[in-house]
Symmetry: C2
Subunit: 334 residues, 2 copies
Amino acid sequence: MRVRLEDVAKAAGVSPKTVSRVLNNEENVRGPTREKVLAAMAAMDYRPHLSARSLASNRSYLVATLYDNPSSNYLTEIQTGVLDACDEHHYSMMVRPLLAESPDFVERVDALILHHRPDGFVLTPPITEHPQLLAHLKQRGVPYASVSPVQHEAVIGAFIDEPQAAREMVGHLLSLGHRRIAHVIGHPAHGASGWRLAGYRDALAAAGLPYDPALVVEGDFSFGSGVAAARTLFSLTDRPTAVFAANDDMAAGVIWAAGEHGLAVPRDVSVCGFDDTPISRQIWPTLTTIRQPSREMGRIAALQLLASLRGRGEGHMVQLPFALQVRESTAPVS
Amino acid sequence: MRVRLEDVAKAAGVSPKTVSRVLNNEENVRGPTREKVLAAMAAMDYRPHLSARSLASNRSYLVATLYDNPSSNYLTEIQTGVLDACDEHHYSMMVRPLLAESPDFVERVDALILHHRPDGFVLTPPITEHPQLLAHLKQRGVPYASVSPVQHEAVIGAFIDEPQAAREMVGHLLSLGHRRIAHVIGHPAHGASGWRLAGYRDALAAAGLPYDPALVVEGDFSFGSGVAAARTLFSLTDRPTAVFAANDDMAAGVIWAAGEHGLAVPRDVSVCGFDDTPISRQIWPTLTTIRQPSREMGRIAALQLLASLRGRGEGHMVQLPFALQVRESTAPVS
DNA sequence: ATGAAAGCGCTAACAA
DNA sequence: TTGTTAGCGCTTTCAT
């Protein structure tokens, strides 16, 4: 038979409510009493019944993570971080893949709210930028945290200074003597694409270099779009000597296309990415990129959400550090 | 205020218990009565309260999907399929990344069981092959379904005929005139690695070709291991004219390494993979591979689990079809 | 085929 | 600081 809160109460010689107080870290329990209860819980290996708690307290102890891009390493990392935070606080996490483009997007999320009653959401890009969804969540009164949202104000979550990271990446290329530096833009629905582009432009401007639209090509974060973009760039009469792709997959595509054009990386052209996903270490040459603490971002965002759920302070938007990873795909201009 | 079962009962002019019967598809409700109740539910947009159901019925309506490899497309696909099935039956799904190697692996799963009380598990490779876990689940009485397990007997789930798929893939290479066909083995902990190797050997034997150990190299399903394996293979005096890698990531690595060695694919060497993951369409040349209905496998496995949970029959091990996808990375031997 | 009563394990509101 | 009582919304058991 399973151990119930009542059994713990009997064993500890207190009332059920006192055990409940200890369980929920409430105040108004004296040290010794708390100790007694905790000891009894441990001795009996007591595990609270989630559904009973949930029914009585009208909270689900559930956090739902919403994502759109179903197979990106980056999102899997974030998921893991969110899970870390939930585990720490005995919350459960559910994930929900969604198509942000689909017409019944908000409806689906609403069905999820009605059915599972999550206490809060963690939103990942690009769902962080969906105005109707955000409005709906506010209307329903369901709190949420965002990972890398475009808007930082009035939102809790975690982010890195993406424009600054992009500036440092371009700065690295400049320091190697590159002057014709191309950029492959990411998926237009992602805020990160705009930021990375902005950082690229800033860095050029700061170095007194002109912005050449011919050197800036659109992609969509996929390997294939990197290949396509690079084919365009490498066909230019005045080829770039360096390519900054807005993520690693596209950078890998650029390196692939360089091979097609008989260009050696980094001898003939330097290539760099963003995100430090596994592919950056698997390809050859290994990729110079920006390390983003994705898992930690998921964890911190979730922790902020949980803090706000439990009324412990407000919950904040937390800035995390990034790191430039210099590897073998970038070299001095020849 | 939210609509409760009692409200529906009042609106339909029946007792709460009758509504409950309709909700749970129980018998002993006459057609007209059922209709009335269903109409009331729909009109009021009634959604049962998960925790209340769970508390009263001692079931969680929760399926937990366990996985080890945290960032593979294949597993994300399976996850999505499991989610499809759970949605269809108003179950929720939680995912749990685990390290099968870690010493407290079973302990962690047990903590999950105690805390969340899932009604069942869906296991994905290689966790399908963990004897201690399987023993523990049986002891705890928690049912599970397996996707692509090595053992098909006495287990419910879904699989494809992997040896046959590998045989067809090698058959394709043979039909193009290849005779020196290499194989890059997958991760040793995965049952699929053994099956695909077996299919490779069978096909060679059936064609009357000798098995040459020098042409069989170990990998671990990663891009990098494909690169490493190919470097070995392409350094042989008597190079293979075709390489069958046990998954797409490794095949992409092989193509990459071919470039390093100045070999054009498919002109100088044919390469093929397995799984038909997105990368197979993103690289150039596009990859000949085996399409495996991963999402459907997840869905079917979960459906079998749910069927057995609800006592509707036994739950079976279902075989699903695969398909050889011939693309541009394989060509007649030159 | 349908209904009434009891209770799942916990917490909220109130009392002491 | 601690305990008592009543219920959360549903399903169970047992009637009818």
